[in-house]
């Protein structure tokens, strides 16, 4: 292949734009006066929203690769990048008021958030093992820092430390696995790994694949690499938790999809079964352990673990049919709205009551009816009840599992787990509507948080009632499977 004189930078335009936004927020934080907090939020927020445009412009351009295959651009990457940028923008909205009282590090928080989004976008497009690992590490490190951002809060410090130690071990493991893959195949290009591994199958290849899966499992909070999630989610600042529950999880899935054929070629018959088992274990772990939780952030942590399990069903099916990938992309977008929405409401309640206990939701149906209604919509969507996007997503996921006859057990497991999850999601609805509150504080919701709730609620309802655009986009993204 004759090397081109100039790289086609337009393929990297989302990343370049995001990098510019991130650096400008960083510089603005240094240059602006201390009191110009709102301006920094605006810069970060509008910058992220503006980043949607160069990303959307790449739709349909692919599949293409740049920088000698280091950057892959296809519809799948574009779709997921849109999810990450929206997640970032909504997190900015949610953080604005929540962290307004931070003594130190207000501006840096938003800069780090932008870098986090940048890292996730690189993960979605990674075509080269080194780019993959660098993006992985960048997202991890920004995650560790953001989790520990509340310096005076011991729980936040604990969260950051636990995340860091666990993450360092996991990424070390993954790096070892990636290096073994390089050693076995002699190439760093993700797309070339599969063929070379199939040509020379070895036990070491299986071991390497297992190690890589371990690292990815940590990112995803998949069983048995989920132990960090409840403590980190509970301790981190709630806006950070919200982003952690969506961004890295979906990025981890993106990596898993990119490496899918490579991993599978090390043991073609075993891997679907193994990942299927892991999916079921993850679902049950998340749903069963969520039942006893009294802290909303911890409950949502276990719920996120369970949702990683549902998304993994999509991955397993994707091994056999693109329907799995279509379901996965759709569910990722629905998950973005419903989870961020739930966290936004949790933030508002936390600001009103001072704690993040589920008991603080008592009587919300009377105190803040619109907010309680929105939360009910999010909870129903998380369970998978129409007319929400969560239902259509679960329909697609379970349908994908049924469409591949040998995977029907995954659908049964998914359905059983949805039924189990109803109990703890409805527990919150019960507190909001059924339980009579006695002396709950009034709820004053800042406008930015209300805006986040509205965006999430509208998004999830549109995805449930008029999902045509989303299903079509998901279907187009799933064609990327052919080139993987």
């Amino acid at each position: 292949m004759t090397p081109k004189p100039f790289a086609d930078l337009s393929l990297a335009s989302p990343e370049l734009f995001l990098a510019a936004v991130a650096f400008s927020v960083l510089v603005a934080d240094l240059v602006f006066p201390r009191t110009w907090r709102k301006e920094i939020v605006l810069l970060a927020g509008l910058g992220l929203v503006a980043a949607l445009f160069p990303t959307a412009r790449l739709w349909g351009r692919g599949p293409a690769s740049e920088f000698s295959g280091a950057l892959l651009v296809d519809n799948l990457a574009v779709a997921l990048k849109l999810v990450f940028v929206v997640a970032g923008a909504m997190t900015v909205l949610m953080s604005a008021d929540y962290l307004i009282g931070l003594r130190k590090g207000f501006g840096e928080y938003f800069a780090l958030l932008c870098f986090f989004v940048l890292a996730l976008c690189f993960m979605a497009s990674a075509g080269d093992l080194i780019v993959l690992y660098i993006a992985f590490e960048l997202s991890s490190i920004t995650g560790y820092l953001l989790a520990a951002w509340l310096r005076d809060d011991p729980k936040s410090n604990e969260a950051g430390l636990k995340y860091f130690i666990y993450g360092a071990a996991a990424s070390g493991l993954m790096l070892f696995g990636l290096s073994l893959l390089y050693g076995l195949t002699g190439t760093l290009e993700v797309r070339a790994l599969a063929d070379r591994l199939t040509a020379n199958p070895t036990v070491l290849g299986g071991v390497a694949a297992a190690m890589v899966l371990g690292g990815l499992g940590y990112k995803l909070a998949m069983w048995p690499f989920h132990w960090w999630a409840p403590d980190v989610y509970e301790g981190a600042p709630t806006s950070v938790t919200a982003f952690l529950s969506v961004g890295p999880k979906i990025a981890g899935l993106a990596l898993l999809i990119r490496l899918m054929s490579a991993l599978q070629s090390t043991a073609p018959d075993a891997w679907p079964a193994v990942v299927g088992f892991l999916a079921v274990a993850t679902m049950f772990t998340g749903n069963l352990l969520a039942i006893r939780q009294t802290n909303i952030k911890r409950m949502l942590a276990y719920s996120s673990i369970a949702h990683a399990g549902y998304l993994l069903i999509g991955v397993v099916v994707a091994w056999f049919s693109p329907v799995g990938l279509q379901a996965l992309v759709f569910y990722a977008a629905a998950y973005l709205f419903m989870n961020l929405g739930a966290f936004a409401v949790a933030l508002i309640v936390e600001t009103a009551s001072g704690d993040s206990l589920i008991a603080s939701f008592t009587g919300l149906g009377r105190r803040a009816p619109a907010l309680a209604a929105a939360m009910t919509v999010f909870l129903l969507s998380l369970t998978g009840i129409p007319p929400t996007g969560g239902f259509v997503g679960k329909l697609l996921l379970f349908g994908a599992a049924i469409s591949v006859p040998r995977l029907w057990l995954l659908a049964v497991a998914g359905v059983a787990n949805s039924a189990i999850s109803l109990y703890y999601y409805m527990n919150i609805a019960r507190k909001m509507y059924l339980v009579e509150g006695t002396s709950e504080p009034p709820v004053k919701a800042p406008r930015t948080l209300v805006a986040a709730v509205v965006v999430a609620a509208v998004g999830i309802l549109v995805m449930g009632i008029a999902p045509q655009a989303f299903t079509a986009a998901a279907e187009l993204s799933s064609r990327a499977l052919a080139s993987l």
């Binding site: 009816p369 009840i385 129409p386 049924i402 029907w408 039924a419 019960r430 045509q468 079509a472």
Partner: protein
């Protein structure tokens, strides 16, 4: 593809529009307005359902008043509504009962806005289930009707309302999720892929009795059987019915239970006729157990509401017996099998009529229980006595409704139960013989309850009880009138039903019977 006014869509969504209007009103200052908006919305829906009878052709076969628009092309989902003789009586039942419930609920004073919002949302859900002809749409409406019911039971219910509400929700959701898997199974078996019910019935993608069809059949069965409810999936019903507020119980027993039986006749029978025939004996056994067990449990109750709840299990057993008989496998000579066609049709017509009748009768019964509970604040049978002297009008209405429920000739219940027995007897002799015992037990417990509550020495504690007021009379009088009308002249409604069940029974008997010759050749 609609000619003229989309009357079905209007009827289904008017309550939702009413709900939106109620949401805009203030919960404290506009309480009266909220009540009247809700009455208007449910009343408009009722009127529209009656107006739909004008363009509707009663004897015509196939779906009518159809509306079909593309919705989610990527999934082959369309917005498809339509009615036939099976759904039309149930739709009128739904609109009537909801309208009466809303009027009856004027006496609710706590959180009126949320109450009406949930009721109107519930009405849209129920009507949508009966009109939907696309599986995706059907499932959406099915689930939509679950959510408001949870809140209605949980907020305005009795002392154990939270337990009853979550039990109802989780139990029914498990069934719905099993049904979702079955729907997906049917979708992926079809070619070209479609969620459209009419199209799928034509395609018959899951015909025969394969492992896949069996799994799909049982998936649908679980979803519907929990709703009906059939023994042994009935355990959510006593709690939910007893703890729900009066109007909630009326809708639960009057309409929501019918969604299960409707599902059997609309989905299971036409889509999987061989599987239905294969398992019809098992369904008949379960129906028999529901009949006997439900009646016996009712006999043992001391709470009037729980007694009526168990009588619902019993009555829905008759419906399922008729459904099982309609699709049963029978062997015999061609001539005999042709005669059985009439029996099957009678059984299925009886079953569908029983769905309608049970809604009317048990709806009335739950309204009437509410009357006594509102005044005395207890429902214990043994605590009352001689109420006939204190509340004569109430006694008359209550006794009429109880007699209708136990199947007294001249009232609606007799017609449907008789038809079910008449039709099912040639097909399931022993089972029907045993099921008649259920009628005897039902008569026993109702008469015994009447004797203990209304007759006998008057308990002086209740001397001051007021008789039925205009709101309560308004709610129950139309129902009693219908009981009499259908009991004395059921022809019009039977003609309506038969247009839909006739072709279905013909199709079922084709799939379900084997001639003696074929049987002999099979056995060598």
């Amino acid at each position: 593809m609609t000619a003229g006014i989309p009357i079905l869509s209007l009827m289904v969504f008017v309550p939702l529009v009413g709900m939106a209007v109620v949401l805009l009103l203030d919960r404290e200052r506009h309480v009266q307005a909220i009540r009247w908006v809700a009455t208007l919305a449910s009343g408009a829906s009722f009127v529209l359902s009656l107006l739909a009878l004008i363009p509707y052709q009663i004897g015509a076969q196939g779906m009518q008043l159809e509306e079909r628009y593309p919705w989610i092309p990527a999934l082959n989902v369309t917005y498809h509504l339509g009615v036939d003789g099976l759904s039309m009586p149930l739709i009128i039942l739904t609109t009537l009962l909801t309208f009466l419930c809303v009027v009856y609920s004027f006496r609710i004073t706590e959180r009126v806005k949320e109450y009406m919002v949930f009721f109107l949302l519930l009405e849209t859900g129920m009507l949508g289930v009966f009109c939907a002809l696309d599986f995706f749409l059907f499932y959406v409406f099915w689930e939509v009707s679950l959510v408001p019911m949870y809140f209605i039971i949980g907020i305005w219910g009795g002392p154990r309302r939270e337990y009853a509400a979550i039990k109802f929700f989780v139990y029914t959701l498990v069934g719905s999720l099993a049904m979702l898997l079955a729907i997906l199974g049917v979708y992926f078996s079809s070619d070209p892929r479609s969620f459209d019910m009419v199209e799928l019935i034509r395609q018959q993608p899951v015909a025969g009795v394969t492992l896949k069809t069996a799994l799909i059949f049982w998936g649908f069965f679980l979803g519907f059987a929990i709703k009906v409810p059939m023994w042994p999936f009935h355990t959510w019903l006593p709690d939910a019915h007893v703890e729900a507020p009066t109007a909630g119980s009326v809708i639960l027993a009057g309409v929501l239970l019918k969604m299960g039986t409707y599902g059997f006749v609309r989905v299971s029978l036409p889509l999987m006729p061989e599987a239905s025939a294969h398992y019809s004996f098992l369904i008949a056994i379960l129906a028999l157990i529901s009949i006997i067990y439900g009646a016996l449990c009712a006999m043992g109750q001391s709470d009037i509401k729980k007694l009526i709840a168990y009588s619902s299990v019993n009555h829905m057993g008759y419906v399922m017996l008729g459904v099982a008989a309609a699709c049963a496998i029978m062997s015999g000579r061609d001539a005999e099998l042709r005669d059985l066609l009439v029996s099957r049709a009678t059984a299925l017509n009886g079953a569908v009529l029983q769905m309608f009748n049970h809604g009317i009768i048990t709806g009335a019964l739950f309204f009437l229980v509410g009357v006594i509970y509102d005044r005395a604040h207890l429902r214990d049978i043994d605590a009352f006595g001689g109420l006939a002297r204190i509340m004569p009008v109430y006694t008359a209405v209550m006794i009429t409704s109880c007699l209708a429920s136990l199947g007294l000739p001249g009232l609606a219940g007799f017609v449907s139960e008789f038809m079910v027995f008449l039709g099912s007897f040639p097909i399931y002799k022993v089972i029907v013989g045993l099921a008649i015992v259920g009628v005897v037990i039902t008569a026993a417990f109702f008469l015994w309850m009447i004797q203990r509550v209304f007759l006998g020495p008057t308990n002086p504690k209740w001397q001051a009880l007021q008789d039925m007021d205009s709101g309560e009379l308004f709610a129950t009088a139309p129902l009693v009138a219908i009981m009499l009308a259908v009991g004395l002249y059921p022809m019009p409604i039977l003609r309506l039903i038969n247009a839909a069940t006739g072709p279905l029974v013909e199709m079922l008997s084709q799939h379900a019977h084997i001639t003696m010759d074929a049987l002999r050749s099979l056995l060598g």
